[in-house]
Structures are given as structure tokens and as C-alpha cells.
């Protein structure tokens, strides 16, 4: 650094005396308010640390006299959100689940709420697109074990399926025809071919003919004469293209021999009536609702 300020030859402007590798800084003075603005930002910053959490300590930081915290802000936002939803939730609580679709606004609210609830509580089994999987029903299609009207869906959701803690739960109990030796292996083999015939798949003619009697004696009471199923009893339709546990001959034999029986929890206690209504509206609107 040069000790003395000098006048730059080219511009005729005085230098500040600062020099770096021969480059000298000219002194074109900044306006004074610029400096004051700079001081003002410092004052602002300091004041900010008084009002908001700022100075770090050993176990935490100063809280600030406004008492602001990001947690508190979240809580406030959640409260505001709940308040903004309250009017719809109250309306929904007072509306019967079958009446929701009559009010387009309420329908939209319920569908959106149902979709988000579904993502938290249902998609673990039924899949993120409600497409189901082996053992878990696809909720998009038009096949409903326990009925596909909005009331049926609502009841299933409220009380669950084979959920012992709920006295009103949906229960169906298909006998284990093979495991409990109610039928001989050849009979099971035959009836499986007959079920293939009912559902319009390739089948063994002779075996299916033999199986027709077995079906009439053992299965038609619940599944119907033509295997059309019975939603009241939770007996699936065996004549359609949809198979919860698979539709190959081996799959059917396995299910008749030793049935797998899925369980769904009752959601009334955990989610409450209003949320279950939203879920029912959402599931009903997926495309298969009756």
C-alpha cells in the first residue's frame, strides 16, 4: 500500500492509496446515504436477533422476544388448515354416505380427502393405485366380494373383514375341503375344472362334467348355481374373469383344498366415521362402484 494518496494521471481522480499489483483504486466517493443504508442493515440484523431465535448457547439458542418457532408456525398452519376444512367436515359428518355425491363440492372434498387417507392407510395392501395384488382385491374393477354400492363399501371399511375385535365385522368362512378331508383329491381336481368351465376358461371336459355334481353338492349353496357368487355371504363370483387368489387350475385346487382368507381391519375406531366416509366415496369413485 502506498502511504500517500496520489492523483491518477489518466482520469485525474485521486486514488485511495490502495494498490494491488499495480492496480490502484480511484476514489470516486459513494454517496453518504449508501453508508447509512449499510449501517441500517446492521441495526436491522441485530434487532432481528432480539426478536427471533438467533444467538447459539450451550443447550440451545435464544428464543427471541416474539416467541416464534418453526414448530409453532407449523402448528398454526395446521390449525388454520383444519379450520378451513371444518365447514366441509361438519357437513360431511351430517350427510349420509349415499347422499354425498348429490353435492358436487362435498363430493370433491370427500374424494380428495379419501385419496390422501388411502395413501396413508390402505396402499400397503391394496397398492398405490388401488390395483390390489394376489390376495388383496383390486378396488378399480367391478367385482366386489362384499358388494360394490357405496353403502357396502362403507360398511366393509367401518367393520373390516374377518376382523375379530369388531363384532359387526364381515365374516365368511369357506371350509377347507382338502385339509379337513371333506372331499377326496380327485373330487377337488374335478370341481376345479368345472369352475374353469364356469368362468369361460379352457377346461378338461370329462373332469368338468364329473365336477358339476361336486359343485352342486358342496359349493352352490354359497357361490350360486352358476358360480355367480353372493355378496351377502362374501362368496366371490367364480364365473367372472377376476381371481383374488389366481384362476389357474392349480390355484383353484389350492384354494378349495385349504382356503386363504384375507383379513382387513375395521377402520371405524382408528379413522372415525367421517374419514371412513371420505374413503368410501374415493373407493366408490375409482371406477367400479355400483
Amino acid at each position: 500500500m502506498a502511504d500517500k494518496n496520489e492523483i491518477d494521471e489518466v482520469s485525474g481522480v485521486e486514488t485511495t492509496g490502495h494498490e494491488w499489483d499495480g492496480i490502484k483504486e480511484l476514489n470516486n466517493p459513494l454517496p453518504r446515504w449508501w453508508l447509512w443504508t449499510f449501517y441500517a442493515t446492521i441495526v436491522w440484523a441485530l434487532a432481528y436477533t432480539v426478536f427471533y431465535p438467533a444467538w447459539p448457547g450451550i443447550t440451545g439458542a435464544t428464543a427471541g422476544i416474539l416467541g416464534w418457532s418453526s414448530r409453532g408456525e407449523l402448528a398454526q398452519e395446521m390449525t388454520d388448515l383444519k379450520a378451513s376444512q371444518a365447514v366441509y367436515l361438519e357437513k360431511l359428518a351430517a350427510t349420509d354416505v349415499t347422499e354425498v355425491s348429490a353435492d358436487p363440492e362435498l363430493l370433491q372434498f370427500a374424494t380428495a380427502g379419501g385419496a390422501s387417507t388411502f395413501k396413508v392407510y390402505c396402499e400397503q395392501c391394496h397398492g398405490s393405485g388401488a390395483q390390489g395384488g394376489p390376495g388383496y382385491p383390486n378396488l378399480n374393477d367391478d367385482a366386489w366380494i362384499w358388494g360394490g354400492t357405496i353403502e357396502d363399501i362403507y360398511t366393509t371399511l367401518m367393520h373390516g373383514v374377518r376382523y375379530e375385535q369388531d363384532p359387526d365385522t364381515r365374516i365368511s368362512d369357506m371350509p377347507a375341503f382338502g385339509r379337513d378331508e371333506l372331499l377326496e383329491r380327485p373330487d377337488i381336481n374335478d370341481v376345479a375344472w368345472y369352475v374353469r368351465k364356469l368362468s369361460g376358461q379352457e377346461f378338461d371336459e370329462e373332469a368338468a362334467n364329473r365336477g358339476e355334481t361336486v359343485f352342486a353338492d358342496n359349493c352352490s349353496a354359497c357361490h350360486g348355481e352358476q358360480g355367480e357368487g353372493m355378496a351377502e355371504l362374501g362368496a366371490p363370483n367364480l364365473s367372472d374373469a377376476i381371481w383374488l387368489y389366481g384362476g389357474t387350475h392349480a390355484d383353484i385346487v389350492a384354494q378349495v383344498t385349504s382356503p386363504r382368507q384375507g383379513v382387513m381391519p375395521a377402520w371405524s375406531g382408528r379413522l372415525g366415521e367421517t374419514t371412513v366416509k371420505q374413503l368410501a366415496v374415493y373407493v366408490h369413485g375409482l371406477g367400479g362402484g355400483q
Binding site: 481522480v13 454517496p31 383390486n138 378399480n140
Partner: protein
């Protein structure tokens, strides 16, 4: 206000040089004495200028301010289903209305295109006439100009204002200052006020505003814009251009040797002399500049143009008016300060400079009768049409034509389709395959319409629509509200015997059977790979 004698009143032959004004450029200090690192602003009292550029500036101010204040009050009939404000940015409903044009958010590229055109237009103007934006049309310049006019009305011209500023406090001083600043505030409030009218129905908002029923954001916007207008235009003025605005630096970098900039032609002005006749009598060579400082006194940024191009210069050209006035009075040719290109200036400078001493010798550019030498270059229209400006003009016009074509041929009926991807398809109990779609019908005119939505190109397929109570089919009549989008959940099913493996293409067609407008969306139907 000071009286400026018109040119007719003066006989050029008898005119002597006017008394020089006692004024120094505000940026002269740095070159004279030891400076602090920070200095207080030197207040500028621009003297009134008169002439063609001043007149042009008044006209531009009238037009720009007129457009700004009046536009929100213009009406434009769009029928009962759309607002009747000619220019309206309807944030709540996400629509932008501009006379006969209505823009939806997805059409915002028209506005982006306009911005690109503004940018290229600015390059074009800058490459030809330098910082014309700064000098004539920038809001900072226009409002500062207006505020200076107000100041002059209450406090008088330069000398009177300087006296008032120095005077000790009195009733008279207080009265003038209060009057000035009160008008500043009125203008500022009107400026902030006009802004909000672009965003809502102006008459309604004005009534709500004065009866304190307008939304908080209206008041806060007006408050902020009032503050910025008052502080920037009334108090800070040229400091905004010099210290805050990045634009002058960018614009200055876009100048080249053929751009017109406000130039002091020292090749004819120097050596300047306040006593030209005496000096001439002594046999000294004398330039045209009588060193009257009129150019400095009128400058709104307080500089001396005779020091050459400076970043403080906004090229408002008021110094040209001031100097032309003086030149006429002393009987010399106008244009000592003029819009001139660097190339022209260098050329004339080379002629004027004595090759031995390097000093400017005015006799080299004039003959004995005072006429300019033939070699001296003057303004030439050809500089406007050079390669660079032609490229800008072409680009500008091209974007304009493309945009205009896009605007005139755009659709007012649209169908957009989003296919469900989870699940990709659903097998139904009868074995048929169903795909789900979210179909959006856009009725972009302010009239209700029945839009026919149909599917085509998928054998045997039918569709059903949630919330539309019609039996399954291939065509649905959907009423859509005016200027609205209607979103539909559409399920398309194809019976088992028609389904093909994997993907199949088909179309959604939206039609208005009255106007014959239609739009087609190429969609995909997915079935399982067997």
C-alpha cells in the same frame, strides 16, 4: 420563471455572449481536491430548458403517463360472462384481458414473446440512438421530470430554488416546500393507485378503496408504490440512475461507434472562451463554446457534457436544447452539442487537431467565412441502417410476425388428456379391459358451450364419465361453463374380443357443433401383454 428571449428578439450580429452561469458539475469534485470515501449528495437544481428535445420530452411524458393512468378505465364489452375492463390482469381467475385478446395461463408465452420483443427492441433503439430509453421513456426519468416541473411551479427556476434552499426557515419557505411535497405525494398516491386498477375492476375497486372495503393488499401496494414514487422521483432522482440502476451499465455496453450519443463537439467548440471577441482580437484562435455553462445548468443529473461520455448521462438531450439556444443567440451554427456518433466525432476531431501540437485549432474545420470545411462529417441517416440494426429489426419483426400468426390462429376450444398410469389398466369381471383418463375440456370463450366429447379409432370401445349421467357410449354432450375448464374422469372400456396386446392408439375429439371448432388428442389405450 425566468424569461427566455426568443431568437427573433435578438440580432445575432449584435449579440454578445450571455453572462456565464455559476454552476459546477456535481461530479467535478473528485478531480479537484482530497476527497472523503463517502460524500453527501450535491443537490441539483436543473434550469428550465426549451427547444425541440424538451418539447419531445413533454409529448412523451404526456403519452406515457396518459397510457399509465387512463388504461385501467377503458371499457371493452365482452358480453355478460367476462369482465368489461379493456386491460385486466385477473389473478384470482388466472386470466389476462387485453382488449380483444384473452390469455389463459398456458398462453402466457405471448407475454413472454412481447418481453423478448421489448428486449430486442431496446437493443435496436440503443444501438441506434444510445440510451434513449433512459432519457425519454424510463419511468424514473418521466416521473423525475414531472416532479422537477412541480418543484419549478412552486419554487421558481434554478436561481430561485437555490436561493430558497439556502434561505433560513420562514413562512414563505415552509409554504413553498409543503406545497411542493404535498403535490409530490398526491402524484405518488395516484401512481400507486393507478397500478392496482390493472388487477381488478377499476370503478369497483376505487369505490371499495375510498370506503375502506378494499383488500389489504390493495392498500399495501398503494403504500409501497407511493413510497417508491415519492422517494425515487421526489428525493433521490438522478441517484437512482447512477447508483442503483444496473441498466445504464448494460445499455452503455451496447453502444458502438455508430450509435448516436449526446456529444459535445469539442472539435468546433475548443478552445472555449468567455471573451471570444477580445481573444479573437488578440489573434488567438477561439472555438464556438462561450463557456456559458448553460449545458451544465439544465442537466438533470448535474454533469458537464463537455467532459465527454459519462455514465451519469441519461441522454435526455436537454443540454442540446440549452446550447442550441445560446448558439442561436451568439449567431453561431447550432449543434455544438448534438447527437453524434463516435465515428463522426473521431473523424472531425482528426481534422481539427493540429498534427504538431495536438491542440484543437478551430480554423482547421472552418474557412474564413466561418463555413465548415467540406471534409467535416455531419449526421447521416445511413447509420440507422447498418448490419447490426438490420439484424435487430429482422429478429424483432420475425418474432412479431410469428406471434401474430400464433395469436390469430390459436384455438379457443381444447381437449387435454392425462392417462391414468396407476393402474395402467383394469380387467373387469366380463374380461374387458378398462383404462382411466382425466380429460380436460377448455372452453376459452366467454360464452357457455356444449362440447361433444367422443372417442374414435378403438374397436368396440365405449366410455363412461363420472358425474355425467348418461349411458355408456362413444360420444357425450358436455356442457361447459363460459371461459372455464371442465375436468372429467373418463373410463374407456374395450370388450375382451377386441382387445389387442399392449398399446393401441386412439383419439379423443372435442367438438363444438355450432362453431365447427374441434380439437383432437392422440391418446393411448393399454391392455395386458398376454
Amino acid at each position: 420563471m425566468e424569461h427566455q428571449p426568443s431568437t427573433q428578439e435578438l440580432n445575432p450580429d449584435n449579440a454578445s455572449a450571455p453572462a456565464p452561469l455559476d454552476v459546477q458539475p456535481v461530479n467535478a469534485g473528485a478531480k479537484q481536491k482530497a476527497q472523503p470515501l463517502y460524500a453527501a449528495r450535491e443537490q441539483i437544481f436543473p434550469k428550465r430548458a426549451e427547444g425541440r428535445f424538451r418539447r419531445l420530452k413533454w409529448i412523451i411524458m404526456l403519452i406515457t403517463l396518459g397510457i399509465y393512468y387512463v388504461t385501467p378505465w377503458l371499457r371493452w364489452d365482452r358480453g355478460t360472462h367476462a369482465p368489461d375492463q379493456a386491460v385486466l390482469i385477473d389473478m384470482a381467475n388466472r386470466r389476462f384481458y387485453f382488449f380483444f385478446i384473452e390469455i389463459w395461463p398456458q398462453e402466457f408465452f405471448y407475454v413472454a414473446g412481447l418481453l423478448v420483443m421489448s428486449g430486442v427492441g431496446l437493443f435496436l433503439v440503443t444501438s441506434i440512438v444510445g440510451r434513449a430509453w433512459c432519457g425519454y421513456t424510463c419511468p424514473q426519468t418521466v416521473w423525475t421530470d414531472l416532479f422537477i416541473a412541480v418543484e419549478r411551479f412552486w419554487q421558481g427556476d434554478r436561481n430561485a430554488r437555490m436561493r430558497l434552499a439556502k434561505a433560513s426557515w420562514s413562512f414563505e419557505k415552509a409554504r413553498k416546500l409543503v406545497a411542493t411535497h404535498a403535490i409530490f405525494l398526491v402524484i405518488s398516491v395516484a401512481t400507486g393507485g393507478a397500478w392496482i386498477f390493472y388487477f381488478a375492476d377499476a370503478p369497483t375497486l376505487l369505490w371499495n378503496f375510498v370506503t375502506f372495503q378494499a383488500p389489504f393488499v390493495a392498500y399495501s401496494t398503494v403504500a409501497v408504490l407511493t413510497a417508491t414514487t415519492y422517494v425515487f422521483g421526489g428525493l433521490m432522482r438522478e441517484q437512482v440512475c447512477i447508483y442503483m440502476c444496473p441498466w445504464p451499465r448494460i445499455q452503455a455496453a451496447m453502444l458502438d461507434e455508430d450509435s448516436l450519443v449526446v456529444t459535445y463537439n469539442d472539435w468546433r467548440g475548443e478552445p472555449r472562451s468567455r471573451h471570444a471577441k477580445k481573444a479573437a482580437a488578440e489573434g488567438k484562435s477561439v472555438g464556438d463554446c462561450v463557456d456559458c455553462n448553460a449545458c451544465v445548468a439544465v442537466c438533470p443529473t448535474g454533469i458537464d457534457i463537455r467532459d465527454g461520455q459519462q455514465l451519469e448521462c441519461i441522454t435526455c438531450a436537454l443540454c442540446i436544447d440549452a446550447c442550441d439556444d445560446i448558439m442561436t443567440k451568439v449567431g453561431r451554427e447550432r449543434g455544438l452539442i448534438s447527437y453524434s456518433t463516435l465515428r463522426e466525432y473521431n473523424h472531425n476531431m482528426a481534422i481539427a487537431k493540429n498534427p504538431e501540437t495536438g491542440a484543437i485549432d478551430p480554423t482547421r474545420v472552418r474557412d474564413a467565412d466561418g463555413k465548415f470545411d467540406d471534409r467535416v462529417k455531419h449526421f447521416d441517416w445511413k447509420i440507422i441502417f447498418r448490419v447490426r440494426s438490420l439484424i435487430y429489426m429482422t429478429a424483432w419483426a420475425l418474432i412479431g410476425v410469428v406471434m401474430l400468426y400464433a395469436l390469430l390462429s390459436r384455438d379457443r376450444l381444447e381437449v387435454n388428456v392425462q392417462k391414468d398410469r396407476n393402474p395402467v389398466f383394469v380387467t373387469l369381471s366380463d374380461g374387458s379391459i378398462r383404462n382411466g383418463y382425466t380429460v380436460k375440456l377448455l372452453n376459452m370463450i366467454p360464452e357457455p358451450r356444449v362440447i361433444f366429447l367422443s372417442i374414435e379409432g378403438l374397436p368396440g370401445a365405449t366410455m363412461s364419465i363420472n358425474d355425467v349421467d348418461q349411458p355408456e357410449g362413444t360420444s357425450f354432450a358436455i356442457p361447459v361453463e363460459p371461459d372455464k375448464l371442465r375436468s372429467l374422469r373418463v373410463f374407456v372400456s374395450q370388450p375382451k374380443q377386441f382387445t389387442t396386446e399392449g398399446r393401441a392408439s386412439f383419439h379423443f375429439i372435442a367438438e363444438d357443433k355450432q362453431s365447427f371448432e374441434s380439437d383432437t388428442y392422440d391418446a393411448v389405450f393399454e391392455a395386458p401383454e398376454k
